[in-house]
């Protein structure tokens, strides 16, 4: 069993960081959380992730690992005595990776489009696309879960983590926009899955409260819209 010094460089509000926290929780692995301040990058971050300069960075026995899904797979590879995060069957693994990439490359960018959208038309278009993406993920859930509670089966797996990590921000978006993105009508399985996911022992203490995320969202929005300083 792997032991050693585990540090996580990150910020609680980042869904990418949350992925790593959930994975470490699944493995019951203790770690030191080094909080990066919003809007600045520490020396340690710049040294550990010189290529992308982004959180999360896992530092295991002084060796840095970057990119959230690379880190999650690393955690699964190292801590083999805990529950598995990736499926054991190669085909199921490929499907989990495929949908995780879909979430990252196709679906989440739509959320960012919505946040940046100016005007009713742009907002409505973004909301529609997000909804369509969620219907695709609903179908994926039915296929992957095979009637069980999670994408990964009886317990949380790779795809649950990849997609579930965005649920905090999804709730914020719904609350601030006074609308439903995840709906009983169109995505009933995902609605139930989301509840189960957020209540899971590995997840329940990870997301900051919605009110806190709303505060952070407002700060980030103000920064994004502020005129650039000379």
């Amino acid at each position: 069993m792997a032991t050693g010094d585990v540090k996580l460089l990150g910020a609680g509000a980042s869904p990418y960081v949350n992925r790593v926290q959930i994975a470490l929780n699944i493995k019951s692995e203790n770690y030191e959380f080094l909080e990066e301040k919003l809007g600045s990058k520490s020396e340690l971050l710049l040294k550990s992730n010189p290529i992308h300069k982004k959180i999360p960075v896992l530092i295991h026995d002084d060796k840095p690992i970057c990119e959230s899904l690379v880190i999650v797979q690393y955690i699964d590879d190292v801590w083999t005595s805990g529950p598995s995060i990736l499926p054991s069957d190669p085909y199921d693994r490929a499907i989990a990776r495929f949908w995780a990439a879909y979430v990252d490359d196709k679906w989440y960018p739509l959320m960012k489009e919505l946040w940046m959208a100016e005007g009713e038309e742009a907002r409505a278009a973004a909301i529609e696309k997000i909804g369509e993406g969620l219907v695709v993920l609903e179908e994926a859930f039915v296929k992957c879960s095979k009637g069980k509670a999670f994408f990964g089966g009886d317990s949380i797996g790779f795809l649950d983590i990849a997609f579930g990590s965005f649920l905090g921000w999804l709730k914020v978006t719904e609350k601030m926009g006074e609308m439903q993105l995840l709906s009983e009508a169109k995505t009933p399985n995902l609605v139930e899955w989301a509840e189960r996911f957020c209540c899971d022992d590995a997840v329940k203490d990870v997301f900051p409260k919605t009110e806190k995320l709303i505060e952070i969202f407002k700060i980030m929005q103000a920064r994004a819209k502020a005129p650039p300083s000379n």
């Binding site: 290529i51 295991h60 060796k63 690992i65 970057c66 990119e67 690379v70 880190i71 797979q73 690393y74 590879d77 190292v78 190669p90 085909y91 693994r93 490929a94 990776r97 495929f98 990439a101 879909y102 695709v136």
Partner: protein
């Protein structure tokens, strides 16, 4: 039996080349189906309904999509021969990180060179060379990114070598002049049959791009 493994692909695609190299490294027989991207086959649309893109590997009737996901699948299924990813978890994480870097930077970077002109193109060339230099740093003194043997990152990157001539011709610059170490690495890879047979000829790639540009009215 060859028909158990089918690859839906196009000869010029650097993503398809990755899969061809992996299959060749493992000595896997397969049926190759060339797609016409202007007229996508019912098979492709059925096997990749989400993206409708090649490559798609169809193994015993089940589709796997996205080139690096396919390469990992091949490595995991045919695990007793020629491992493509390292066995050490840390080394594996580094291989995944660098393959992801290639995916994030090289395709779009190269496309920017092909599709822009003037100042924009100069900036695109500069950025592209910078990314290649970062990769040279990651390679270091190793024979391959995978160490002594061709590995995941080599497979992720080497197909772009067949597109370098097109980038250079379009951008009027020499990649070798800026990144000699990387070109040496590329030539070493090309000495392997699994690579040389999988990559399209650079001049054919260039002709293909010129044809596409003409077809879509891009200068």
């Amino acid at each position: 039996m060859a028909h158990e493994v089918v690859l839906s692909d196009t000869r010029m695609s650097m993503f398809g080349m990755r899969v061809r190299i992996a299959l060749a490294e493992k000595g896997i027989e397969y049926e190759y189906k060339e797609e016409d991207l202007a007229n996508k086959s019912p098979l492709l649309l059925k096997m990749n309904p989400v993206y409708k893109k090649i490559p798609v590997l169809i193994h015993n009737g089940k589709p796997i999509c996205e080139s690096l996901i396919i390469v990992q699948y091949i490595d995991e299924v045919w695990k007793d021969k020629v491992p493509l990813l390292p066995s050490d978890p840390y080394q594996r994480s580094q291989a995944r990180f660098w393959a992801d870097y290639v995916d994030k930077k090289i395709y779009d970077g190269g496309n920017r060179i092909l599709l822009t002109k003037g100042e924009e193109q100069e900036a695109a060339k500069k950025d592209f060379i910078e990314c290649l230099k970062v990769l040279e740093g990651a390679l270091g003194d190793k024979t391959y990114f995978g160490g002594d043997k061709l590995g995941f990152v080599d497979i992720a990157l080497i197909p772009f070598y067949s597109w370098f001539y097109a980038y250079e011709t379009c951008g009027n610059f020499s990649i070798e002049a800026e990144c000699p170490k990387l070109i040496s690495w590329a030539k070493r890879c090309m000495e392997k049959e699994s690579v040389s047979k999988s990559l399209a000829h650079p001049h054919k790639v260039n002709d293909y791009i010129l044809q596409l540009k003409k077809k879509y009215g891009v200068e």
